[in-house]
């Protein structure tokens, strides 16, 4: 029973079926969506940890793999993310108490002087779908605010985003600030102009060209 309901949940997420009333996918109109299945699983006594890992994360992972193989396009990933969020809204309050079920916390933000957040938002969405708790500090975030968040949230990972080579100049000092604040805390950097060579030069833990590659790496790393 547990196994079946979790497979059903993973299917709903991967297929982008968010709620019973959602119009997508048209052929599943009227059927339960990720939100209802998530609630049913919890009511049946499935642990929030299993609901997250074997339901939501499994479903997002399936879409991510299809995307990586070129079998799914961006819209399908975004529809799956919407379904994942619909379920997570019910799961979130339960998870806070069951911290062990999660991979840990990631603090994300766009660096000072930069207001571009779509890339960072996609990274946050995909990491949530991979089972991370995401603390998003928003845009134009100073090194001090990142340091404050590290003190308050005890993240396992920090991710910094920048759109232009000129705003990328804030990545180095922010990485440096965080190294002083929390030695050993991996700080990743990303955004259109960031290269692996640049990441290495500023002492970042690394960079990834897209959200899924980053999530895969973090999954493998821990």
């Amino acid at each position: 029973m547990t196994r079946e309901i979790l497979v059903e949940l993973a299917d709903a997420v991967a297929g982008g079926k968010a709620e019973r009333d959602s119009p997508y996918p048209p052929e599943r109109r009227g059927e339960d969506g990720a939100a209802e299945i998530c609630l049913a699983a919890l009511a049946a006594g499935v642990s929030p940890e299993d609901v997250l890992r074997r339901g939501l994360v499994a479903g997002m992972q399936r879409v991510g793999e299809r995307f990586a193989r070129g079998e799914a396009f961006i819209p399908e990933v975004l529809l799956a993310a919407k379904a994942m969020r619909a379920a997570l809204a019910h799961l979130e309050p339960r998870l806070a108490k069951e911290e062990a079920g999660r991979r840990g916390t990631v603090v994300l933000g766009t660096v000072a002087g930069d207001i571009h957040d779509l890339g960072k938002n996609l990274v946050g969405m995909v990491l949530q779908g991979a089972g991370w708790r995401v603390v998003d500090l928003g845009v134009d975030v100073s090194a001090d605010r990142f340091a404050q968040a590290v003190r308050a949230e005890h993240p396992r990972v920090v991710g910094l985003s920048a759109l232009l080579t000129t705003t990328m100049a804030h990545l180095g000092p922010t990485v440096e600030r965080l190294r002083r604040e929390a030695p050993g805390l991996p700080v990743y950097v990303g955004g259109a102009p960031v290269t692996p060579e640049f990441a290495e030069r500023i002492g970042a833990a690394g960079t990834f060209p897209d959200a899924f590659a980053f999530a895969r790496h973090l999954g493998e790393a821990g």
Binding site: Y24, P26, E76, G113, D114, I115, D117, L118, T166, A192
Partner: protein, 216 residues
């Protein structure tokens, strides 16, 4: 001489197909539902755009744009420089953000539509400048922007210094990012001895460049 004007968002040639091209998707986005969502987002997007465009024409000897050699050679021989700016206005960025929070597909569509729209607005501005110059018997280069074709993004500083304070309501962050985000800046060279030459794409590493994709 400084010129400012508004553009009707309805007049910008935008389509769902363009959005899907930017996403490397099939022309219908993969299925009819997705296509309908993007079509609807396009309709919702237009009224949220407050498209403003403007430019200032200066004697080429009046300013040094520190463009670097590649752009420098494009502008060679220009007797005046037309420094331009286009923007969708501040409301659009906020709408993209709130859309993404509600629905990631709608949010991403809104973002891409905004990027395409501001590029189209720049295209229209370039056409107007070309026509104005042609009327005076002058030729024009293509539009060139800091951050492209080997011109450092820091070139924004010199461009903005050439424009009136607060021009079109666009502000430059200390690290040269324009606020609102959906804004494009650049320059067009004008003179008897300049013409539209191809962008130097063959020697440029920027594969994802939208101007390259236009077959520039």
């Amino acid at each position: 001489m400084t010129v400012e004007f508004s553009l009707e968002a309805d007049g910008l040639p935008l389509s769902a197909e363009e959005v899907f091209r930017a996403w490397h998707c099939p022309p219908d986005g993969g299925n009819a539902f997705v296509e309908a969502v993007v079509e609807r987002t396009l309709e919702a997007a237009r009224p949220r755009m407050a498209v403003r465009a403007g430019y200032r024409r200066l004697d080429a000897r009046e300013i040094d744009l520190e463009t670097g050699p590649v752009i420098g050679s494009q502008l060679e021989g220009a007797s005046s420089l037309v420094v331009f700016l286009v923007t969708l206005g501040p409301g659009y960025d906020e709408w993209v953000r709130s859309s993404f929070r509600r629905d990631p597909l709608v949010g991403c569509a809104a973002d891409t539509i905004g990027s395409l729209a501001v590029e189209e607005a720049a295209e229209i501005l370039e056409g107007r400048v070309d026509a104005e110059l042609l009327g005076e018997g002058l030729g024009a280069t293509r539009r060139l922007s800091p951050g492209y074709c080997g011109w450092d993004v820091a070139g924004q500083a010199a461009l903005f210094a050439a424009l009136p304070e607060g021009f079109l309501g666009v502000r430059l962050s200390p690290s040269f990012m324009m606020v609102p985000l959906k804004s494009v800046s650049g320059v067009i060279g004008a003179g008897r001895r300049v013409a539209k030459r191809p962008y130097p794409c063959a020697t440029c590493g920027i594969e994802s460049c939208s101007r390259r994709r236009r077959g520039a």
